[in-house]
């Protein structure tokens, strides 16, 4: 008996978060817009393609986290859309409710007529809720990952926040209409960092020690890159971190383990070196 207890204690020490990881949580990831609805458009980018790519990377990370037994959590990761298709807001919420999802995480990119509007913001339905707690973590992790202007933790009566039965957040990565923000959105490496930020946020939300799974990205990672890079003229020049240097593909994005490990290294250094050049400038409000 004593031996068993000691073993359990050692396992707990060695694998932080392992106890919490025993529960499988269903996360519905919601890439905004799609199909006939491009969402925000600017700087050669379409919101629908950017957010589908980040959502796909986030799902791959959750799947990899589940497969990685050295830490992290166990997840069932579902997406409201997996390709460039229009899905109504009503169907998105109904789908999440039908799955009995534990959390709903919508990913968007902002747009505004004034190209000076910039930064990152995250919404929940109400303050003081479990959704607001997750919202705060997503925003915090994204500010740490990208270092863009913090537009704050906000509430909104958005349909997917109101009509989902589970705690829900809607994150606006950055503005496609702002040149500086667009450079983040355009970069495959930055999109990977955004997906990792979402993973860290959901892990922390459930009391799991943040853990990036040591598993190569899935086979459809390259396809996800193509979806975004089809929109971009001169992407190779602008994708300074992860673009044409690795692999030299026309998509300008490395795949697999090389990208994954590189993005971890870059992410660690990037947080320290990135300045908040526009931190004193207020945003101009939502585009929609």
């Amino acid at each position: 008996m004593l031996r068993s207890l000691s073993l359990a204690f050692l396992i707990t020490i060695a694998l932080p978060g392992a106890a919490a990881a025993q529960t499988t949580r269903t996360i519905v990831i919601d890439p905004g817009h799609g199909g006939s609805d491009p969402g925000g458009v600017g700087n050669g980018l379409q919101e629908k393609n950017i957010v589908l790519d980040v959502a796909t990377r986030f799902k791959q990370l959750l799947d990899a986290d589940t497969a990685d037994t050295s830490g992290g959590g166990r997840w069932v990761a579902l997406r409201t859309r997996t390709n460039d298709t229009f899905v109504s807001l009503s169907a998105r919420a109904s789908f999440a409710n039908a799955q009995g999802a534990d959390r709903f995480m919508s990913i968007h990119a902002n747009a505004f007529g004034d190209p000076a509007a910039h930064g990152t913001e995250t919404f929940s339905f109400a303050e003081g809720s479990t959704g607001a707690a997750l919202r705060n973590l997503v925003q915090q992790e994204m500010i740490a990952a990208w270092g863009l202007t913090n537009r704050g933790n906000k509430t909104a009566n958005f349909a997917v926040l109101r009509e989902t039965a589970m705690p829900a957040v809607l994150h606006e990565l950055a503005f496609v209409t702002n040149a500086t923000d667009a450079n983040k959105l355009r970069s495959a490496t930055e999109r990977q960092k955004a997906a990792q930020a979402h993973l860290r946020a959901i892990q922390r939300h459930f009391g799991i020690t943040p853990h990036i799974p040591l598993q190569a990205l899935g086979a459809d990672d390259q396809a996800a890159d193509d979806v975004v890079d089809d929109d971009i003229d001169g992407a190779d020049q602008l994708d300074e971190d992860g673009g044409c240097a690795a692999g030299g593909s026309s998509s300008g994005a490395p795949g697999g383990l090389a990208l994954f490990l590189a993005s971890i290294l870059i992410g660690a250094g990037g947080r320290a070196r990135r300045s908040r050049a526009r931190s004193g400038r207020s945003g101009r409000g939502r585009a929609r």
Partner: protein, 264 residues
């Protein structure tokens, strides 16, 4: 605010299949409750309405004649699959001891565990729909989308379900026919299973900017538009037990009741 001034017409749906012989129009629409209530469902007595709150939280009983609202349950997500039982109690799902369980609440708010459910006629698994055939075997139905929320008709012969991007479908167990209705959500069967109400929303990616109600005649395979309003966002309709009245919400917390009248 009364909605009787709103123009309610029976129009041919975008499918172009509608004929006026079986068309119905919505008349005598009135608001029976305002506040933060959604997804009304008539009680078996045809008078009271079961509703839920924002984020489908809680269950409430609304007097169909405009009386007070009583809270039945306050569980998060209780409104997702809430439905009336024939004995006047309400079945719903709630988390108990860390697991989602079937519960029953009576009109006095007394909650208890539901008895074991019979084998379902249809179920969703891994984003596919499985329907039990006459031999009792579950067979997959529908291809080309990711499907969810199967709902058998009251007589059990048909099952309506949703595809994420392709809308509503009806599968008939006795014939094996599968009909795609097209875009729509929140389907609700008439008591005799001959008609199906649903909503068709428009959105801008963040907000629902418009929604109207539609009625599908199963035998005629025709869809009729019941509302054509720009000022009101009609959503989440359902039939009364008499099959002639319907209830719906306006997406801002108001509950409405109206009457269907056949157009000759």
């Amino acid at each position: 605010m009364s909605k009787t001034h709103l123009l309610m017409v029976a129009l041919a749906a975008s499918t172009g299949l509608a004929g006026m012989a079986h068309a119905e129009r919505l008349i005598d629409v009135s608001q029976v409750q305002r506040g933060s209530y959604y997804a009304p469902r008539f009680a078996p007595d045809g008078r009271d309405l079961l509703v839920t709150g924002p984020k489908l939280s809680g269950l409430y009983l609304v007097d169909g004649n405009g009386g007070a609202v009583r809270r039945l349950a306050d569980d998060a997500g209780a409104g997702v699959a809430a439905r009336w039982n024939r004995d006047g109690t309400v079945g719903f799902r709630a988390v108990r001891a860390g697991a989602r369980r079937a519960m029953i609440v009576d009109r006095d708010g007394r909650v208890r565990s539901a008895p074991a459910e019979a084998a379902p006629i249809a179920l969703a698994q891994n984003e596919r729909i499985y329907v039990r055939d006459r031999a009792g075997e579950l067979v997959p139905v529908g291809t080309g989308d990711r499907f969810f929320s199967p709902e058998p008709s009251p007589d059990g012969d048909r099952v309506v379900f949703q595809g994420l991007s392709t809308g509503l479908y009806i599968y008939t167990r006795s014939t094996g026919d599968l009909v795609q209705l097209g875009a729509g959500t929140a389907p609700s069967w008439s008591p005799d299973g001959s008609r199906l109400l649903f909503e068709l929303t428009e959105d801008d990616g963040h907000e629902i900017v418009a929604s109207d109600l539609y009625l599908y005649d199963v035998r005629a395979r025709r869809t009729h538009r019941l509302t054509a309003t720009s000022a009101t966002v009609e959503r989440r309709p359902s039939f009364a037990p008499d099959g002639r009245r319907i209830a719906f919400d306006d997406d801002t917390g108001g509950i409405y009741v109206g009457r269907l009248e056949e157009v000759r």
